[in-house]
Subunit: 478 residues, 4 copies
């Protein structure tokens, strides 16, 4: 009888959790309606599945649902089977290729000798496989391949071994990468943000209690008030008396993800004291300065390019018009097994307003371009509608490297901007001209210095070491 083979753990090839929404509430009213409204408000940060963990007076109760917050929780609300209690956390998960099933949904809950621990996590622990192997070596079993389980098990072990504060501090020193976390240990609520502050996390209050959420817009929708950002490296404890800092892990630099302002967050959110809408408007204004263009009309790619296009119009004096109608029922696209349908994919979403386009020189403003395939199809649509020229202006710099911190851009060969000149890109997508905003234009619009931002996807230089990867990226950029 041989000893059993090792290392058949199915973890390789799996992606950890990515850009998600996390929320938390401690208050005098029921937690579920608050978490539900906050998660609906932050639906854009994750559409795959959702979950809440609520302390019911004796133990933490979990409820996870597939799909959108509204559709998923609706039957439970109707039957009044949502968890009851006044302290809880919640999570929306982003749709990624692997682990689509609900087992990988947040929050994650385990029973340990330190109590019940539940964690909702937004971000990506870049060294989670290493940590997982260590914990397995110490005898810890793993049920899933998520990095959230690694977070929970690490914190559980560290607290047990070193006490609460020292255990948390050591966990944060061990974990590399991005993490904005809401956590419950039994009936205690905590908020944790990684020392570099990759992902946003804010704390606020409503009439009924204290709220933690990925974005400030959640407070607005709850009729509450944002108090401040959770600071990079900070751990808050939240209870009936509000919140207080119980730990601060210092870091010299910051690494706020520029993509939150450029595309990911809601325009009505304020992240690290900067309003997203104003940044986007400013990106358009800067772009008008850096990349002026002769044209008749500025039109946005709806919905994401609208604010930037307004800024470009203001900056350039060229009138703004909505030349593309976006079908509000086309959020989800499904590829039918027929050529016709594949061709229709963009047309179902976007159709030109002929009177705006016909006979005009179009300046098309988008927030960002990754692959360029959609832009190419849009240009085709505009030309067919009678545009005499189409000039593309992109209100962010060229994306040339993968993200390892939570944005779903993993493979280098998808980036149209990698090793192509503006002219080559224009020719590839059929535009009369293409221009991007500079990195300086970006940092100026955000109002933060380059050293406080993560610009990894623009430069290939990452704020933390990415094992094996950084060398390769450097090479591909030479």
């Amino acid at each position: 009888m041989a000893s059993p083979p090792q290392n058949l753990d199915p973890i390789d090839g799996q992606k950890p959790s990515e850009s998600c929404a996390v929320v938390g509430f401690h208050g005098r009213s029921q937690a579920f309606p608050v978490l539900y409204s906050a998660l609906r408000t932050l639906q854009h940060r994750g559409q795959e599945n959702s979950g809440v963990a609520i302390f019911d007076g004796e133990k933490i109760e979990l409820l996870k649902v597939d799909g959108h917050v509204y559709e998923g929780f609706r039957p439970h609300i109707e039957k009044n089977t949502t968890p009851k209690g006044t302290i809880g956390i919640g999570h929306n998960r982003y749709s990624t290729a692997g682990l689509k099933n609900i087992t990988g949904a947040g929050p994650f809950l385990v029973n340990t000798s330190s109590g019940q621990i539940a964690v909702a996590h937004n971000g990506e622990i870049t060294n989670y496989k290493e940590i997982r192997e260590n914990l397995k070596g110490m005898g810890m079993p793993f049920f899933t391949t998520t990095d959230t389980e690694v977070v929970v098990n690490l914190i559980s072990k560290e607290i047990k071994e070193r006490g609460f504060i020292n255990g948390l501090r050591n966990s944060m020193n061990v974990m590399r990468g991005s993490y904005s976390i809401t956590m419950m240990i039994d009936n205690k609520l905590y908020a944790i943000r990684d020392p570099l502050g990759f992902k946003p996390l804010v704390v606020g209050k409503t009439g009924d209690g204290t709220v933690v959420a990925s974005e400030s817009s959640a407070m607005d929708v709850l009729g509450g008030e944002t108090i401040r950002d959770v600071e990079p490296g900070e751990v808050l404890e939240i209870d009936e008396n509000g919140f207080r800092t119980i730990l601060k892990v210092p870091s010299e630099k910051k690494a706020h993800c520029m993509f939150e302002w450029v595309y990911f967050a809601r325009p009505d959110s304020v992240i690290d004291n900067i309003e997203v809408y104003k940044t986007r408007y400013s990106l358009g204004m800067e772009l008008a300065k850096e990349a002026p263009c002769v044209g008749d009309v500025v039109i946005p790619v709806p919905d994401s390019g609208r604010t930037q296009a307004s800024g470009y119009s203001e900056g350039s004096g060229i009138p703004y018009e909505e030349g593309l109608f976006k079908n509000r029922y086309s959020e989800r696209t499904f590829i039918m097994p027929s050529q016709a349908e594949r061709d229709d994919a963009v047309r179902i979403k976007l159709n030109p307003i002929r009177s705006v386009i016909n006979g005009k020189r179009i300046i098309l403003v988008d927030d960002t371009i990754i692959r360029g395939t959609t832009t190419k199809r849009i240009i085709g649509i505009l030309r067919k509608a009678g545009a005499t020229e189409v000039h593309v202006r992109v209100a962010s710099p060229r994306i040339i490297a993968p993200c390892y911190f939570g944005i779903d851009m993993k493979t280098r060969d998808q980036f149209i901007a990698l090793r192509r000149t503006d002219q080559e890109i224009a020719s590839e997508i059929g535009a009369d001209s293409v221009a991007y905003l500079s990195i300086e234009g970006l940092t100026k619009s955000i109002g933060k210095s380059e050293k406080d931002l993560c610009l990894g996807c623009l430069t290939g230089k990452y704020p933390v070491k990415i094992t094996d990867e950084i060398e390769y990226v450097q090479k591909t950029l030479e």
Copy 2:
């Protein structure tokens, strides 16, 4: 033994079919992908359920699905169980209170001695109960309470009794109200539009065949070309050689529904030769002339007021900005059994961009106001975000009477504009001022004379007699 009691037919209190989408295709390629793309494009005209009827070479096969086109048909597409054939019609149904189940979904199909007859219907037959009683009296059984079944059974009977053309003509003379219809009789395809032309209906072609659809945007998305409107009172026969007029029922006046241009249709559609987008822009320009206002910024109620607000900005010279962020995941709202949730209903949908609103005098432009409840909530949101003044400008006239031709406004007591002055309305909804566009401004913007439009909901004067109702409306208006 007594004879059985009569007239227990459950029809009273039921609503007939309303604003819907109808499509039809006769071509050389499979009909389903074409109908599916057209129905997705026209999803805004009906979200309750959808259906297609396709001639499979031997008989007409039906497939009806609940909910949105994409979600409903998806499992059938994946399993390849959609009807096969090159001739077919399709239907999206509007969500109304009664008859929510799929039995009432279109198209409607029956087997008769004149062959299989399938009908997709957009509109409302105002005298359908009368016709139904007559047909029942002649021995015809009825399975549903829809007016579409009345249409099918009437046409079936008339064709049998008078022959095809005379039967159709007589049916059209008998039916009062609005109807844009696509119809199959076995493998023949027809398009029918009522003599007053209430609802839109266009015919066009793709590379593969001839298409009929409620709106021209369907042709665009199919990569095809709109040829012309089906004319009021016209019946087209469509086959492999294209289409031809086989009947024309004349009418001196027209009654195009003004609501299609104001709100209901897509902005990229062209209805009766008028582009919807241009009309909406023009409505905003006219409104700026008729109802000028001192203010700092023009902001639209998204998404429906955007074009009109742009026009108002252009007409007034006051800058346009997007001051309200619309959550794209909040199409469907569900009232949770808690006050908190009810209060959140509008906030979940709309959140202010503080930098745009704070300290400003806001001119809020909407396409139309019916009850005023949402407007009231929005004004509250704007004031909380720091607006110093809020002036409401409505880019259409006051709605004061029910619609009997397919728009879901049935009860008079819901109209905020009925017997209230602008000032009373402003006070009711908390605005600093309120102004509506005049009927002259409306007709000028559409570019059609009053006698060619149905303005029933604005005037209480309907293009066809509405039994019992017209008197009452007149009375309430005195």
Copy 3:
């Protein structure tokens, strides 16, 4: 423009409704719980789908569900959305190849000028296509291809034209074949049985009202009492005062389906005054006399052969034992796409008790044999378990012709007994010997003369003319 093609009606190739259960109730308590219990009791008569039609005080409300009575109605019972009212009918549908969807489910309901008519039908109208064509020719539309719709439309038309009683009488004279029907016209309840009395139908009462049902066991389970059979050709009207005969269509002969006693009905039912259990026991006793056999043990094919095997044991003096264990969780069988699974199909259902079988001469008693494939597999199982001899004794005569009146045996080539001797059959299925009961043995056991029974499947001679078919069957028998 050509006139539309005719006769594309998809009816050909479709099967009409078959052996089903029908029930009806008129009482002082809610109808639904009564109909539900009766339908559960009669689940063996139809497992495909079920439905009830209940008069709610104003109109008849329908509820149809897929699958078994219990599973189908359960969610509606839990949500209390079952139709309310004290008068109703119900239907279980047998699983057949075509028309699996719920549109074909009973009861069938239409709105006519004679009121709302709902019909639940058990049987098969052999001339329904002919009647349907006639009704279509008179202008009646047809929604489905079921014979039940033909019944409803015929009765509706006849009542309208000739008055209630004459209309019913004429309908019954027109319809050929088998029909046991419960019918509502608005709030009136009727029970109808065809003049030959093919299918059973009984009337009884509970403490709360009057019940009509396909089998008397329904009364027992309801805690009620069977009063009598509805007589062949009789129409009952049922109201709050009980029931009365309102029409009697005479017939010289009867044609009770022998299969009800042999296999189809529950053993605890009493049909046309004959207890099913006693008949089956007697069939076994007669078989022991007609076809004696040397053996060690009589074992039944469970569950259907159990009573007959007991009778055979009693008649022969050879001990009875349960040598085959039937897996009670194997009602439904699904063919996996692997040879292994196909081979398992019978084994999953039946496994031998080795101590009963091993070293014994087995007399295997079954109620009937149609194809012989299952019997063949059972014999294999018995031999593998150590049986030294296997003698098959069938407690009914040889089946050699299709049934056109409601039993699912339609194609002649499936009958193993057609043109094979006992010895040939034994060799085909691997038995040491095979013997069937004689027709005389059958009629003696039932206690009815040959002229009062339908023996069509045993003789190929049918009680009513089957167009085109009778000649062919005669030929194949020569």
Copy 4:
């Protein structure tokens, strides 16, 4: 900041896994069809949910489904999404009050430094809370409240600390209670039976490989052959060359659960060399000797009392007849919120054959009686059908104490036999007389001595110490 509160683990009040089916396969053909057929065969041991764990060449893949084996796996079989591979284990779970969701379904799978470990477990670890606390104290997290997770984590830790064989041995020494287990560690398959041999476990072979299963009938249905019981305290390793003993944990006594022969197992199974059918027949024969009765007919409570009733008939010379018809569609009962339905619950299941019952003195034989409520209802039904006397004979001894080893009888107050004389019981349930089999009659019928059986539920004396409980039981018995 206080340290987080401890011990909020929701484990108290939860029930561990109970009587279930476990299977395992290592072969040359696909494992899924084998596991599926075996689980269908053993469906009677658990109907709540099912699962399989199969090694796919790289890792173990899990598939868990709700409900019955057939319905649950069917969609996966149809879409061919069942796990692929030739080595696997499977589990059926018994329906208990708590933990109804699929998270508690077997098999249980974790990733550890010793590899992937999957376990399917039948039985109950009586000291699992204690073990769980110890493991938690060592830092192990727990996801569920099942005892199966305790088994997996204990074995994982022990193997890691002591090596494979010593770790297994120590685990078996630590675990108290009943466990028949199939286990995979990566691609290795093991079978484990507790030292007292509470639950059955057999090993056999098919043409394609080696099978382990809870009952021998699984081998029969697979067309294979049972080789032998896994012995109490034995651990088998199974691979492509068959199986071998790798560990034997000795025990002086055995504690085979008598309930398996009396009721739980299939009659066609052979457990610890004793055929279940023969035992049941013998129970009836013994009962006839111990508790003779004057009567006209012996009738069984179907289906479970049938074999015992045959034995009683043989032993007494009184004829056996099936006097109660069991509705084969009534496996699941649902309590409608109306008195009528509650009264119907037993009648829907069982209806009398009047000709067998009427005017007779009935000897009603059942396998066992726990609460007596169903027996009481049956006696009522028999009397209503005309029985002149009803004598109840129970083919097993009186049940007076809870089971802690896997049979779902937990609370003492449910046992009708506890502290009541036969006469008191008869009077309670309305019988003319009641008699039970003696413990001697039971052991004689099984053919094993009292010291090799677990008779805890009959005596209140358990083979292993039940903390806190044993004292109480003793007291209640004094």
